[in-house]
Symmetry: C2
Subunit: 142 residues, 2 copies
DNA sequence: ATAGTTGCAAAAGTTTTGCATTGTA
DNA sequence: TACAATGCAAAACTTTTGCAACTAT
């Protein structure tokens, strides 16, 4: 079994974008190629914008924001709220939780299947759980 | 056993503010009286500012922000991050978690002793847990 | 008296919006 | 060609900051 990983080709992401009924525009394709490289990525609008700049992609910050929200609404990304200073978007959309390194502002995924939460009180009538977020905040020193 | 509750007098909050080595200024006393009324309160800078206005307290929004952060640093309040749009401050500083009504932007406390979280992976070397936040997001409909 | 605090206004930072222009299908 | 998306700049918001005036001790 080969261990090589490939960056998604324009064709891969094109299918992915079409699958969620968004137009595969130049900017969306370029951003999707950056986002959907192998591995789980946690980006902010600013960090993705910087990545795009470095990669020579011409796109405005406003379009990065719009695209991140469109991808999130389409289920391609998940928003993670850990910090009131900025919004993180996670390419891992499966059931999972997070470690958050407060000193580095970095996120690490925790497989949702590993974590077991017990003792949650009854949900009030008329409401339903849309998601459970567990954030384990880490600081330096043992 | 009487069930009556009292609003904190200026004298109560004065002691409380002095205990954390902050000067009991007119603004801090007034904001503390609003914050530390019986029950757990979840406020934003804006909502507390509005409350103060309604109560006829003369205080600027900047001072409300500063005071909320000073009280938080002093351990009188806890910051709750649920929403990138604004920061919530919680007068309940004991171990607990939250329900978050997405449609109403409202928080409800869940006693920390009730919730049991199992299966958390080992914390990386050199790090320690500063806090675990569980947010159960609720939307409408059963 | 002195050292910390307030108030204001302005700055800073993130995110959203409006509209002419562009580009996809 | 038609219609949706982009880009830009500007607006909208939340939050922070700097400094002169004020106030608790």
């Amino acid at each position: 079994m080969e261990a090589r990983t490939y960056s998604p080709s324009a064709i891969d992401v094109l299918a992915r974008i079409r699958a969620v009924k968004l137009r595969p525009t130049r900017q969306r394709i370029a951003l999707a190629q950056l986002l959907f490289e192998p591995g789980d990525h946690h980006v902010t609008a600013e960090s993705l914008f910087d990545q795009a700049q470095s990669a020579g992609v011409k796109v405005s910050l406003a379009t990065v924001y719009n695209t991140l929200h469109q991808f999130t609404a389409a289920g391609l990304l998940r928003e993670v709220v850990v910090n009131s200073a900025c919004t993180y978007f996670d390419t891992n959309i499966s059931d999972h939780h997070h470690f958050f390194y407060e000193s580095r502002n970095a996120l690490i995924d925790i497989d949702g299947a590993k974590i077991d939460i017990r003792g949650v009180p009854a949900i009030p009538e008329g409401a339903r759980i849309s998601r459970v977020d567990v954030i384990i905040r880490l600081s330096r020193q043992g």
